[in-house]
């Protein structure tokens, strides 16, 4: 199987004379690959955001043409007969469903995971463990290429006749394969490429962390970010393959007319479907959520890792409860494999099984709370520097808290019965991923930018970006809790107008006009959130060449190894293999001349103020 770059001296020379393609496109250097992942993921993040804004506009104005882009949608998107999928610029039900399905798919698989796990992980992890690169650089390149291919297939699926997949990011059978368009086929093939990319990446990360830690870098001296990435990689490694199997089976249902997930007696469009039957729709759900649940931990763990790094650095003290953090993250990883059916409480499962999954779901909230508590406690007594990364990270804590706490009623099946598939769920998971994970990712960008480019991003615009994003994200998702509790269901192009009190006068539980009006409020907040990203995007690109130059390789005065390299780190990262002498967060060590002691700083005799008086 693939092994590393040959270590004979001859090849050393070749590395200096690579052309543009080898250096920037077909690179095997983990730093370049990390940046490639980041750029691609940020593009998809932006695209997924655009889909959402169009959807939210349509929900707030049912039956009306979308301004600005409506005519584009009308021209570009067609069905198999040549008619437009957005006649008169109005997003109809089918197109809305495909936007919704792809928004979820793109955000989860093509934006957040590649950014949080692959981009940050690739750039930072080898540096933080003191390694020259990943264990398998060519496999690393292959995993990025598989990601691009998968992403391209997903992107192109919008423009084929009849458009993209329409059955939700969860792609439940029999609906997914009964819709007579090719979008689902593209989705499945795209997923297979994306899953392959993740699996290759996961193997690389785990092998690298196990094998390439620098001398002295014991397991309990690893930065928390590395632990988080390690567990995330295991989740991807073991949870994705069942979805890959399910994807292959659903693809066979679609193109080979098998009936893995199609029950006997299935009728489509009022007619008995011409399939053998005998399959199980529940089987798809089990295999999907077996990945689906660990997947949400994949979305949050790298973010928690970033939060840990930035908190320690900006409080100038060690993270509180390092051991608890490590054991908690390992426990979360383990437990996440046995909670999945809490996404399936409404499938008619019996009491015993439901109780089992409720119990494991409740138990898994404990290590999550431990991690959040440790982060909070780390702030106590800290000498807090309120720079942009720190602001994002401090906001992460309560935002993730809200997201997590609102998950508790969902973990119990009696309350989930009312809330399942409503806007409450949308609010719950978006709180965790949007002002949760994405805030941590923003923080990471601001934090590691000076290591990558040698310049700082603008603090002023960073703070503008932070405050506006925080406010607007809350304005978008807070109302959704109320809408969900009022019974508004997900995935409805008319925003629930069909279930309104106006539609069913005197009916029980009809949605009030106030609940429907909130759609417009949320739309405005979403547009403003989008505008709030403009200073960030400008800041990001402008600062690459015009940002304030850093005056040292370690501008944040951090203890971890990635800051003990030249800026940017050269190919091979460290001139000499670093030797690690201490833990990752030796900040404010009493008696030390500076308030931080890098992990690889040589051991000196520090005068002990208790036994030996300090020099006068």
């Amino acid at each position: 199987m693939a092994t590393a770059i040959p270590h004979t001296g001859v090849h050393e020379v070749h590395h200096h004379e690579t052309d543009f393609w080898r250096t920037y496109v077909f690179s095997t250097d983990h730093k370049i690959i990390g940046i490639q992942y980041a750029v691609t993921a940020l593009f998809f993040l932006f695209f997924g955001f655009l889909l959402m804004v169009m959807m939210r506009w349509q929900i707030a104005h049912p039956g009306q043409p979308v301004p600005l882009v409506g005519f584009l949608l009308e021209r570009v998107l067609h069905n198999a007969q040549g008619a437009s999928l957005a006649p008169k610029g109005i997003i109809n039900g089918d197109l809305y469903n495909s936007f919704g399905a792809m928004h979820g798919t793109i955000m989860v698989f093509m934006a957040i995971v590649p950014l949080a796990f692959a981009a940050f992980g690739n750039y930072v992890v080898p540096l933080q463990i003191g390694a020259p690169d990943m264990a398998f650089p060519r496999v690393n390149m292959a995993s990025y290429q598989a990601y691009v291919l998968g992403g391209l297939i997903m992107f192109i699926s919008f423009f084929i006749p009849d458009g993209a997949a329409q059955a939700g990011w969860t792609s439940y059978s029999p609906l997914a394969t009964s819709i007579a368009t090719n979008g689902q086929t593209f989705w499945l093939v795209g997923m297979i490429f994306l899953i392959t990319s993740s699996l290759l990446g996961a193997v690389n990360f785990i092998a690298t962390i196990i094998q390439l830690r620098a001398p002295g870098m014991t397991w309990m001296r690893l930065p928390f970010f590395v632990w988080a990435q390690f567990v995330t990689a295991f989740l991807l490694l073991l949870a994705f393959p069942p979805l890959e199997a399910a994807g292959v089976m659903q693809l066979m249902d679609k193109v080979a007319h098998t009936s893995f997930f199609l029950p006997t007696g299935l009728a489509v469009g009022g007619q008995l479907a011409n399939v053998s039957g005998g399959g199980s729709p529940l089987l798809w759900q089990h295999l999907f959520w077996f990945l689906g649940h660990p997947e949400v931990y994949v979305l949050i763990l790298p973010a928690m890792g970033i939060v840990g790094e930035i908190i320690a650095n900006n409080t100038r003290k060690p993270l509180w409860g390092y051991k608890s953090l490590v054991y908690s993250v390992l426990t979360i990883g383990f437990l996440s494999f046995i909670v999945w059916a809490h996404h399936m409480y409404l499938t008619g499962m019996g009491n015993r099984v439901a109780t089992f999954f409720q119990t494991t779901t409740m138990i898994i909230s404990i290590p999550s709370v431990i991690i959040l508590t440790c982060m909070f406690l780390s702030l106590w007594g800290g000498s807090i520097r309120f720079n942009t990364p720190m602001l994002f990270v401090m906001a992460f804590l309560p935002m993730f808290g809200i997201g997590g706490l609102t998950g508790l009623p969902l973990g119990f099946n009696f309350s989930d019965l009312h809330l399942h598939d409503t806007y409450y769920i949308i609010a719950h998971f978006h709180y965790i991923v949007a002002p949760g994970t994405i805030f941590a990712l923003f923080a990471g960008i601001y934090f590691w930018f000076p290591k990558i480019t040698g310049r700082m991003m603008s603090e002023f615009w960073g703070k503008v970006h932070f405050w506006s994003s925080l406010i607007f994200m809350n304005l978008i998702f807070q109302p959704m809790f109320a809408q969900g509790m009022a019974g508004m269901l997900r995935r409805m192009v008319d925003g629930g107008a069909n279930y309104s009190q106006a539609q069913v006068p005197g009916g029980l539980g009809g949605l009030s006009p106030h609940m429907l009006d909130l759609h417009r409020f949320i739309l405005y907040a979403a547009i403003l959130l989008g505008l709030a990203q403009i200073p960030f995007i400008i800041n990001l690109f402008w600062s690459i060449n015009h940002g304030v130059k850093v005056n040292s390789d370690n501008p944040w005065q951090s203890t971890t190894l990635e800051w003990q390299t030249p800026t940017p780190p050269p190919h091979g990262n460290f001139a000499q293999v670093p030797e690690v002498h201490r833990g990752p967060y030796e900040y404010s060590v009493p008696g030390h001349s500076t308030d931080f002691t890098p992990q690889n700083e040589s051991e000196q005799r520090i005068p002990n103020p208790i036994t030996k008086p300090l020099p006068a």
């Binding site: 196990i210 295991f234 073991l238 069942p242 199980s280 529940l282 089987l283 089990h286 295999l287 077996f290 383990f334 494999f337 046995i338 059916a341 399936m344 008619g348 499962m349 019996g350 009491n351 015993r352 099984v353 089992f356």
Partner: protein, 106 residues
């Protein structure tokens, strides 16, 4: 595993591999044979076949893949994997088998 044994000691290992090979051949033949024995309940046939398969799997994994002498790290990874695989299989089947029934049904 690269430097554990010298070339001379390897012939001892080769004997072991051949022994495992014969055991696997034998295992295959008795699997087929046992499938024709009418135990009454099909479940018993299934049990016997899977038991023999597990035995053969143990031999391949243990000796051909050197798992019996492999490091803890690898053992650990495979043990967790096995646990999650069993979890997937068992919990999925339990979920489908356990559904609310009317009091008159079993």
């Amino acid at each position: 595993m690269s430097d554990d044994h010298s070339p001379e000691q390897f012939s001892h290992h080769v004997k072991r591999y051949l022994f495992v090979f014969y055991a696997l051949l034998f295992g295959t033949l008795i699997t087929v044979g046992a499938s024709y024995i009418p135990f009454g309940h099909r479940a018993i046939n299934i049990g016997v076949a899977l038991l023999i398969a597990c035995g053969k799997a143990f031999l391949v994994a243990g000796y051909f893949m050197h798992l019996v002498s492999e490091r803890k790290m690898i053992y650990g990874i495979m043990l967790f994997t096995a646990f999650f695989f069993i979890g997937l299989m068992f919990l999925t089947i339990w979920s489908v088998a356990d559904f609310p029934r009317l009091p008159t049904q079993h």
